[in-house]
């Protein structure tokens, strides 16, 4: 039987989806700041981050209220805990996006022509995030299961970028500051991938009740 308060769960889910799409947008915006060298986008990124923070708080409040008043069990509990954790992950993603945008703004335009694997990494990370959120929205456990493996590609790309930027610093000492920014940006993108993976793992938990974190399947090769 559908109860009158079950609609509140739908509200939480809707908020989650909204927050997810905002997170994808904010990461995309941050990458554009870097790639297109458009520092005017930074303000937008920061504003979007504020909205995401607000949504994070709303979802937390709704979840706590639901726990207090509705005594949820089974898949409702999983949805609520996952919503709480994932909203935290999304909030972190937004923070990484802000960091990317700010570092992009701090860099001297045109100083480093080659961003190495960064655009590719960003593309993969965005795809990963998008798929994680899709897995949540569509309740697609197969898709969610595939994501931790895909994160390894991002890690590999990031390591390559890191090594190349290390060499770059040794060769061009004057540009070392911008290169270090790029290193951090790459790291942030890699972090976005990690958060997306965490979301996917939570989605698996939400849908099946199995906790796949820190198992052989998902172990990160740092």
């Amino acid at each position: 039987m559908e109860r009158f308060f079950h609609s509140e769960l739908d509200n939480i889910r809707t908020d989650m989806i909204r927050m997810g799409s905002k997170s994808v947008d904010i990461v995309r915006l941050a990458i554009r700041t870097l790639i297109e060298n458009d520092t005017s986008l930074v303000g937008e990124v920061i504003k979007s981050d504020d909205e995401i923070d607000e949504l994070n708080k709303t979802i937390d409040a709704e979840v706590v209220r639901y726990f207090t008043l509705r005594a949820p069990v089974a898949k409702d509990v999983r949805l609520l805990t996952v919503a709480m954790k994932c909203s935290r992950e999304l909030e972190r993603i937004a923070d990484e996006a802000v960091s990317i945008a700010k570092r992009a703004r701090s860099m001297t335009p045109g100083s480093i022509k080659d961003y190495y694997n960064i655009p590719r990494t960003a593309e993969l990370a965005l795809l990963l995030l998008n798929d994680s959120l899709d897995a949540f929205t569509q309740e697609d456990i197969v898709k969610a299961h595939g994501i931790p493996q895909r994160d390894k590609d991002i890690d590999v790309l990031h390591r390559k970028t890191y090594n190349k930027l290390s060499d770059f610093i040794l060769e061009h000492k004057k540009l070392s500051s911008d290169a270090i920014h790029l290193m951090f940006i790459s790291k942030s993108i890699e972090r976005v991938g990690d958060h997306a993976t965490n979301i996917a793992e939570e989605v698996v938990y939400m849908l099946s009740g199995n906790d796949i974190r820190h198992t052989e399947e998902t172990k990160h090769n740092h």
């Binding site: 039987m1 559908e2 109860r3 009158f4 308060f5 079950h6 609609s7 509140e8 509200n11 709303t58 409040a61 709704e62 706590v64 209220r65 207090t68 008043l69 509705r70 005594a71």
Partner: protein, 269 residues
């Protein structure tokens, strides 16, 4: 659930009641013989909202509820101080006939108490005793009340069978239909689900949620989850005193008084 109720329960937003002190309990004390069972209660119950009374057994919550329609008048040796006003009018007004008060305030009891009559006659009982016997009117009321009590589809083909052949949950909803048949303004519920299984309980709770668009509902319950689920306001009583009265979320999420905190978190006693 339909769209309409979705809006009213959405999140922490609450539609303010048009009459926040529709029922006003004003410095009310109550005695059984020499035992004082209610101590100077002050409480405003808002119009068209669900207000829940919770508290351990013997805390006076049922006594207060049964005073709202003066059901306690049946007991010998009672005495009260202070006043209770419904929509500004004292229920102890000597010119007020207690029968007419009870017609304005319907009541549903802990144990479902259908009369040994047909389903139809149970619903129209309050109309019959008021001398309203027009067949067409009664038919309309029966359908409307049973629909209101979410029972129509289950019993429409056996309206003229005995009410005692129904299931426990159906009987309780029949009692609700009977209570709302005469269009009262207030609906009092004294632990309406304490004898029902979870599914019947859920149905009654759904019903309460729908009925609050039409009635001011006061519910006494031992089940804190139920109070949390169905009510807008919750009052916590202990030993005949009102310990805390607040919006339900507030009372359950961050109660101000330690006793309330202990009670709702199960650390009481």
């Amino acid at each position: 659930m339909n769209k309409m109720t979705k809006n009213t329960t959405n999140g922490t937003k609450e539609v303010a009641s048009e009459k926040p002190d529709y029922i006003k309990v004003d410095n009310f004390s109550f005695y059984y013989g020499s035992a004082k069972v209610l101590h100077s209660l002050n409480l405003d119950i808002p119009y068209k909202k669900v207000t829940a009374f919770i508290g351990p057994s013997g805390c006076g919550k049922s006594t207060l509820l049964r005073n709202l329609n003066r059901m306690n008048d049946l007991v010998d040796g009672i005495k009260h101080e202070g006043d209770i006003r419904v929509d500004g009018e004292s229920i102890y007004d000597p010119f007020l006939e207690v029968i007419s008060l009870r017609k304005r305030i319907g009541m549903v009891f802990q144990k479902s108490n259908p009369f040994p009559k047909t389903i139809y006659e149970n619903v129209v009982y309050s109309l019959r005793i008021a001398g309203r016997n027009s067949k067409s009117e009664l038919d309309t009321v029966v359908e409307k009340s049973l629909r209101g009590a979410a029972l129509w589809d289950e019993v429409k083909d056996r309206l003229h069978e005995s009410a005692l052949g129904m299931s426990g949950g159906q009987m309780q909803r029949l009692c609700i239909a009977r209570a709302i048949a005469n269009k009262p303004e207030i609906l009092l519920m004294d632990e309406p689900c304490s004898a029902l299984d979870p599914i019947a309980t859920a149905k009654v709770e759904e019903l309460i949620h729908e009925l609050k668009t039409e009635f001011t509902i006061v519910i006494v319950t031992h089940n804190m989850q139920q109070a949390a689920r169905v009510s807008d306001r919750t009052a916590f009583f202990y030993l005949g005193k009102l310990i805390e009265y607040d919006k339900t979320e507030q009372l359950f999420m961050s109660p101000k008084v330690k006793q309330t905190e202990d009670y709702v978190s199960g650390r009481f006693g």
